[in-house]
């Protein structure tokens, strides 16, 4: 039902975007994707470390609420979120946790899921949002509303082109920052490679 409505609204929204590209317009654009797969490479600049810390791996998302981040280098580990459950795997061990028991974690996960599903209300519940740019090249800035998260995370900046996320930047209050570059893949690629 929702998909249908959005599909109908798509062309209309596209015309309106020319006038003003806001969160509503951006999320309408993003909501059209039901699945996404990508490779990522991440650089983290940490105070006290001269060179950046690097990691790379894959990301996958399927609507409405499944999001997996798989680190392959330097050490394999994964984080899989589905609904209110988060499963962490590292060194052959798994840990299951309840997402909403840790509100800071919830907000960070919802930043990704809200962006990927194009859920404006979800994003606004956890963050103050700012959209800049145009449909072809946009930046979504998120400032945490949760007081505890705000003591750790200063801001998050997601950049993209049309319905695709291209990078996620994170600025922490302790001065650390990270930038994740996202390279989108055709759906099914990761499953094929896994075989």
């Amino acid at each position: 039902m929702r998909t249908l409505a959005l599909a109908a609204a798509g062309p209309l929204a596209a015309r309106a975007q020319a006038a003003r590209f806001d969160l509503k317009a951006l999320t309408a654009l993003l909501a059209q994707r039901r699945e996404a797969e990508a490779r990522f490479s991440e650089e983290r600049h940490v105070t006290g470390f001269d060179s950046p810390l690097r990691a790379s791996g894959t990301l996958s998302f399927s609507a409405p609420d499944r999001f997996v981040r798989h680190v392959l280098e330097p050490r394999p580990e994964s984080m899989a979120v589905q609904g209110n459950t988060i499963v962490l795997r590292r060194g052959g061990r798994s840990r299951q946790m309840t997402l909403d028991a840790v509100p800071e974690l919830t907000a960070l996960v919802e930043a990704m899921r809200g962006t990927l599903t194009g859920d404006a209300a979800l994003l606004q519940r956890h963050f103050e949002t700012r959209v800049e740019g145009e449909p072809g090249r946009w930046t979504l800035t998120l400032l945490p509303r949760d007081a505890r998260l705000a003591t750790q995370v200063r801001e998050m900046q997601i950049a993209g082109q049309a319905g695709e996320i291209r990078s996620v930047g994170l600025w922490l209050t302790n001065g650390d920052r990270s930038l994740m570059l996202v390279d989108n893949l055709p759906p099914g690629t990761l499953a094929r490679e896994a075989r």
Binding site: S51, P74, R75, Q96, M97, D100, V102, L170, N174, D176
Partner: protein, 809 residues
């Protein structure tokens, strides 16, 4: 008996002897009662189980951490007001000293535990092995820690990096993260399903101390009233609330039933005799029976449960009959020798009635529920005492019986016409019986009442409890691994081995996680192995130099790590007393108590038990039988641990275990009830010595049971152990009526006795039906179930006995 035709009282010597004996019995009973404690907790509803695994379960229910844990919800108002009230209430409760621990989601309370974990990380981290301190092992540890830096999760790891670069603290924390925890908002726990903040308060006093529980509950209410903004509503639940509430309920019930029962009996006796003196004498067998019954329970069980007292009112219903029979019959026989004639003609009937009732109640003694066993002992000893009083003391007090009132004559006449009309209904009643039999044959799930149906806790209170538990999720595991051993170190080692077997099950999605005491207190052997794995400073320096190659860290930066490992090598291993009394002892003790128990045997400590609660996997495949956790798979994973002692490591499914427990007792009770009923029949066969008469007497009894069960089935009442007990009582009581009608029909019985006998029979039946009707209105389900069966069943038994009486030849 040369003076059989003479109604003179017994000799003065005999009178003095009998009265002195009676006074002695009453005095002894009173002395015993004075030194017997009275309890009104829930223990009566828990079976006294012989199975060791179920014993652990029952110990947990009775005195484990859940038995002293209060679940608190704050409803109403807005989110900020609820969160503020949660913080303020938690602070006040923590300061009260009544609680061992108060949790409301505020993490500040755990900072001392965090510091303690960090300090003991090389004793506690499961990653501490010799391999961990090789160049490759150190490199992996460093990489794991580096992967956290620069992320929000790394905020805690970064300041500790130089001291704990391999992330042992992280590794310990990873094992302690609960797989399901309450939702947190504004820093406190909240419900997922309702606007409500949540707290958990663990009372310091043992769960069995209901006065302390009541004080703790009152404290929560008072403190809440002092801090809460208007509009907020407090809800408190948990086992202590159940215990205190049911005690209140049972106490109120005892008062209500004993007052109503006394009024009822006095009323009936007044109607029957119209004389205060006769009334007092008729009530004496009951009073003696009640005193002896309570004293006997005190001797046998060391305590008397409130339920037993509440049930005492049914004893009134039975024992008062004895007095009525004696007084009426002795007066009826006044012309032929009064009490002496009664000893020959009336007493054998009462004796038979007593024996059949005892058959019924003896089944209770062996029912397996301590509460029911008490009822059995109480009833058997009480009835025997009342009957003996009637036989020996009544003739001393009232050798000529007591004159009745006009009303009793009227009762006799009404009884005669009513009961006389019954035989005409014989065939319709048989048809009804056939219908009931057909109905019962069609209902396959007749006996489906559950253990919970015995509990005196009302449904809405249980619903609140279930919703709070759902919201709090943690600490309420339905499946546990239970590890037992003779000494503490052995149980810790077994818990470690069981944990190692459970670890792969998390990965496989069979379980979501598990808690274990071994994470907080590893076995001495494990701690010594970890200490031995820590390398000497030189070796560590060398390995470290190799490990950091290519990583953005150098060894100079990690010198604090080398120093801390060197210091840890001389650290003393953790012990249970040190854990309790250490810096974080106040926070750790409740955790330890929830997972590690020292069992108490009859003579001192009897071994240790570790409980490893399992959390269900979220989104995992459900077990083949639909359970949250596939217990068979867990059992299989644990197979072979502690070979030779299958009870050392076991999987306990609480829900299934309780159901199994109840089903087993139901099966036992059915067998006992059958034996009890056979006992009644055997007694009647012995007395009657005629198969034809036995058959005639059994017909109305069988029909009474059939019709009672049919009515219960028609009303969709799920039948349980107590309904079964009720049916047995119907048989026991009904057999008296059937025998009366049988005797009336025997040649040689004086026809003029009929009115008096009928009057006493009707009066006896009325008291029985009325007292059980009182019980049927009880707020305690266990009593209500018995009352609902016996009140109509006893009336039915009388009517059926009349209907099947054969006309005198």
């Amino acid at each position: 008996m040369t003076d059989a035709a003479d109604g003179t009282p017994p000799t003065p010597r005999r009178r003095a002897l009998v009265l002195a004996l009676w006074a002695a019995v009453v005095l002894l009973a009173l002395l015993q009662i004075l030194r017997t404690p009275f309890v009104a907790d829930l223990s009566a509803f828990l079976p006294a189980s012989p199975d060791e695994r179920q014993q652990i379960l029952i110990e947990q229910v009775e005195s484990g951490v859940p038995a002293r844990t209060l679940l608190v919800g704050i409803d109403g108002g807005d989110a900020a007001a609820r969160a503020a009230a949660s913080r303020a209430l938690a602070a006040k409760l923590r300061a009260s000293g009544l609680f061992e621990q108060v949790g409301n989601g505020e993490t500040e309370a755990w900072s001392d535990v965090g510091a303690w974990l960090f300090e003991h990380r090389y004793l506690l981290s499961p990653a501490v092995t010799p391999e961990r301190f090789t160049a490759a092992g150190l490199r992996e540890g460093l990489q794991d820690t580096l992967s956290l830096l620069g992320t929000p999760a790394g905020a805690i790891a970064r300041p500790l990096f130089e001291r704990d670069p391999t992330g042992e603290t992280q590794r310990i924390a990873e094992g302690l993260i609960p797989s399901s925890a309450p939702r947190s908002e504004e820093g406190v726990w909240v419900s997922r399903s309702a606007p409500r903040t949540l707290l958990v308060a663990m009372v310091r006093a043992p769960g069995a101390d209901l006065d302390a529980m009541a004080a703790a509950i009152a404290r929560v209410h008072d403190d809440f009233a002092a801090v809460a903004a208007p509009g907020l509503v407090l809800r408190v639940s948990g086992a202590p609330v159940f215990g205190v509430e049911s005690r209140g309920r049972i106490e109120a019930e005892i008062k209500r039933l004993s007052i109503a029962g006394t009024v009822l009996v006095v009323g009936l006796l007044t109607l029957a005799f119209g004389s205060l003196a006769a009334l007092a004498v008729a009530a004496l067998p009951v009073a003696t029976g009640v005193l002896v019954g309570i004293a006997a329970v005190g001797v046998g069980f060391g305590q008397v449960h409130g339920m037993t007292l509440a049930f005492g009112v049914t004893l009134i219903g039975e024992a008062v009959d004895y007095g009525i029979y004696y007084l009426i019959q002795a007066r009826g026989l006044a012309g032929r020798g009064g009490w002496r004639a009664w000893v020959h003609e009336g007493w054998p009937t009462i004796r038979l009635g007593l024996l059949t009732s005892v058959c019924g109640f003896v089944a209770l003694v062996f029912s397996g529920f301590p509460g029911l066993a008490q009822l059995g002992v109480f009833s058997v000893s009480g009835l025997v005492a009342a009957a003996l009083f009637t036989r020996f003391v009544m003739p001393v007090l009232r050798p000529q019986g007591a004159a009745g009132t006009l009303l009793r004559t009227a009762l006799g006449r009404t009884g005669r016409s009513l009961l006389g009309a019954m035989p005409r209904l014989r065939w319709p009643l048989v048809a009804l019986g056939v219908a009931a039999a057909v109905l019962l044959a069609q209902r396959s799930e007749l006996w489906r009442a559950e253990l919970a149906s015995l509990s005196p806790i009302p449904q809405e209170v249980l619903a609140l409890d279930a919703s709070l538990r759902q919201d709090l999720s943690a600490g309420d595991a339905r499946t546990l691994v239970v590890v037992q051993a003779a000494d503490l170190q052995a149980v810790l080692e077994l818990a470690e081995q069981a944990g190692a077997r459970l670890e792969p099950l998390i990965d496989a999605g069979t379980i979501g996680g598990y808690d274990s005491i071994a994470r907080w207190l590893p076995s001495l052997r494990m701690q010594q192995a970890r200490l031995a794995a820590l390398p000497a400073p030189d070796a560590l320096q060398a390995a470290l130099r190799e490990a950091v190659a290519g990583l953005p860290v150098d060894t100079a930066r990690l010198q604090p790590f080398v120093a801390e490992v060197a210091a840890a090598r001389t650290q003393a291993p953790l012990t249970l007393p040190a854990l309790r009394s250490g810096a974080a002892g106040a926070s750790l003790a409740p955790l330890v108590d929830a997972m590690l128990l020292q069992r108490q045997g009859d003579d001192g400590p009897a071994g240790w038990v570790a409980l490893l609660p399992l959390q269900p996997p979220i989104g995992g495949a459900p077990a083949p039988d639909g359970a949250e956790i596939d217990a068979a798979a867990v059992q299989q994973a644990l197979a072979g641990l502690a070979a030779g002692d299958p009870s050392a490591v076991q999987v306990l499914e609480i829900g299934r275990e309780l159901t199994g427990l109840y089903e087993r007792y139901l099966g036992q009770a059915q067998l006992q009830a059958l034996l009890g009923a056979l006992g009644v029949v055997a007694l009647m066969a012995l007395t009657l010595r005629s198969p034809r008469r036995l058959l005639a007497v059994c017909q109305p009894l069988a029909l009474a049971v059939l019709l009672s069960m049919g009515a219960l089935a028609l009303a969709e009442v799920p039948l349980g152990i107590l309904h079964l007990v009720g049916l047995l009582l119907v048989v026991a009581v009904g057999s008296n009526y059937a025998l009366f009608f049988d005797l009336l029909q025997q040649p040689g019985q004086p026809a003029q006795a009929d009115d008096d006998t009928l009057a006493s029979l009707l009066l006896a039946n009325l008291t029985t039906v009325a007292t059980f009707a009182l019980i049927a209105m009880s707020a305690i389900p266990a009593l209500r179930a018995i009352g609902l069966v016996v009140a109509p069943g006893a009336l039915l038994a009388l009517l059926l006995a009349a209907a099947f009486a054969r006309p005198r030849p």
